[in-house]
């Protein structure tokens, strides 16, 4: 339950007319209880640049800034938004299952081919299973995304 203390300007105005002596007090109360508005008083606030910087940094880190923005939609639009999200999830799920099916099929076909090969010629089967340790030759340049500033070194000699 939210409890908010709010003094509306008209009511302050009325009471200030009625009790002229309390005018200043009421204004002070209104200032302290006003919600959602930053009131920077020169006396109590920050007038130092370095302190202001720290305040800015801290307010950027504050919990309210980290909260995702609330969707202010009417019920119909909220339902539409949810429906779209649901459809997107369904679509993605379908895509994922499709990919998984393709991978499973590939694996099955590899497996079938290898079992057949095993029956036909065990030597070839062994050869197919043999792992070659391939190294990148030391003389090769490392593959990069962009051409170098100096494209070719003409002075290079093969070791």
């Amino acid at each position: 339950m939210k409890i908010s203390v709010q003094i509306n300007p008209p009511s302050i105005l009325c009471s200030s007319i009625m009790f002229a002596a309390r005018k200043t007090n009421l204004a002070a109360v209104a200032r302290t209880f006003a919600r959602g508005k930053k009131i920077q008083n020169k006396k109590q606030g920050v007038n130092n640049a370095s302190t202001q910087k720290v305040v800015n940094q801290l307010s950027a880190l504050s919990a309210t800034k980290k909260q995702p923005k609330l969707l202010k939609l009417c019920p119909e639009d909220l339902i539409k938004h949810k429906t779209i999200t649901n459809a997107w999830n369904v679509f993605q799920r379908k895509q994922r299952t499709k990919e998984a099916e393709i991978l499973a099929k590939q694996y099955e076909s590899i497996k079938d081919a290898m079992t057949e090969l095993k029956e036909l010629s065990p030597e070839l089967f062994e050869a197919a299973l043999k792992k070659e340790r391939k190294f990148f030759p030391l003389e090769y340049r490392v593959p990069v995304d962009y051409p170098p500033r100096n494209p070719w070194n003409y002075q290079v000699k093969k070791l």
């Binding site: 779209i84 459809a87 369904v90």
Partner: protein, 359 residues
């Protein structure tokens, strides 16, 4: 202000999907509010959405391209639902009741109309429809079930009456004879109630959420008080205050009212007698237990003063599925309620001082 009006699902359109057919589907799946339904599918009128307050309405703008995206999203989901319906039709005989229920939920859970109903009209959902039951179950599990279990454990209803409970049904209790708003509503588990507020038998709502395998559809309800002072053993004994047996209940007819029991007196094994704590006795708990029956009970005898609920449940093959608890103290109305039920004046016990620390 002009809005693009996306017309689809209109009666003139040729291709109507599964979610627009109401021949085989229950009509309660349709959006309750007709204007909201119109606005959901055909866009808002120039004055803005009618569900919003008048001062915000004119400034309101929907997100860009929402209607068009919604249209294609609706088609995707509807096709998915159609596939589900086809699956159910093909495998109707092979599926068990629970599997069928799950499949039925899948067909309708993303229907925007159903979503709107569960969001805005949660109080009047049709309990015969699986998707609404699933929603109600989730709602119950998120709050009501936790409250009930907390109170049952903190007040030691578990294990003072029965060893434990795996809650499957939502149990709500109301004393309908009360005029005061404070006592007329559904009782929050664990509340202390005065004697006048519980002087007449309660209305009990027992909501099942899932179909029961090999279920008889019959229920037993017991109200026991495990805090009756027993001077012979310097302790407490359990008394039976209310016993109903062979009460047929289902998803829709889920309420036991005193009136329904007047019509079927054979269901009352022990007529209602409110807890009437004597003076200076510690707070007493009225523990209401709901059991699913394995078979119809016949010729059951109960001892009222020394009642053993565990033995009773075991003898009659009763499976506890829900519980509720409220508490009572001696108060100003206790004596008058005692007189109403023709009881003698209650005993007065010595006050127990310093039973609890002051702080």
């Amino acid at each position: 202000m002009s809005r693009p009006v996306a017309r689809f699902l209109s009666s003139t359109s040729k291709a109507r999907g599964v979610w627009s057919e109401y021949a085989a589907r229950p009509s309660s799946l349709q959006l309750v509010d007709k204007t909201a339904r119109n606005e959901l599918f055909e866009g808002f009128s120039a004055s803005g959405p009618s569900s919003m307050k008048s001062n915000n309405k004119h400034n309101y703008t929907s997100p860009e391209l929402l209607d068009d995206t919604f249209k294609s999203a609706y088609e995707i989901l509807e096709q998915d639902a159609a596939r589900q319906y086809k699956f159910i039709e093909q495998n109707k005989d092979k599926l068990s009741a629970k599997q069928l229920e799950k499949a039925m939920v899948k067909t309708e859970q993303y229907n925007p109309e159903v979503m709107y109903n569960t969001r805005e009209f949660a109080d009047c959902l049709d309990r015969s429809v699986p998707v609404y039951r699933k929603f109600l179950k989730e709602k119950w599990e998120s709050y009501g079930q936790m409250i009930t279990m907390q109170r049952l454990e903190q007040l030691h209803v578990i294990p003072d009456t029965l060893p434990t409970l795996a809650p499957e049904t939502e149990v709500n209790v109301k004393f309908g004879h009360n005029d005061e708003a404070e006592f007329a509503d559904w009782v929050v588990p664990g509340t202390r109630l005065p004697a006048f507020a519980v002087s007449k038998p309660p209305t009990i709502e027992i909501q099942e959420f899932e179909p029961v395998e090999n279920g008889t559809g019959l229920y037993t309800v017991l109200v026991v008080n495990p805090d009756v002072p027993d001077l012979s053993c310097n302790g407490y004994s359990t008394a039976l205050h209310y016993a109903l047996v062979n009460v047929p209940l289902d998803f829709v007819n889920n309420t036991i009212t005193p009136l329904s029991l007047v019509e079927h007196p054979e269901r009352v094994l022990k007529p209602y007698m409110p807890l009437l704590p004597e003076k200076n006795v510690p707070t007493q708990r009225a523990c209401l237990w709901v059991f699913r029956q394995g078979h119809e009970l016949k010729d059951v005898g109960v001892s009222e003063s020394q009642f053993d609920i565990r033995a009773f449940a075991e003898e009659n093959q009763l499976h506890a599925v829900g519980a509720h608890v409220w508490r009572q103290d001696y108060d100003r109305s206790t004596n008058s309620v005692r007189a109403e039920y023709g009881l003698e004046k209650g005993r007065v016990f010595d006050q127990i001082r310093n039973a609890e620390p002051l702080l």
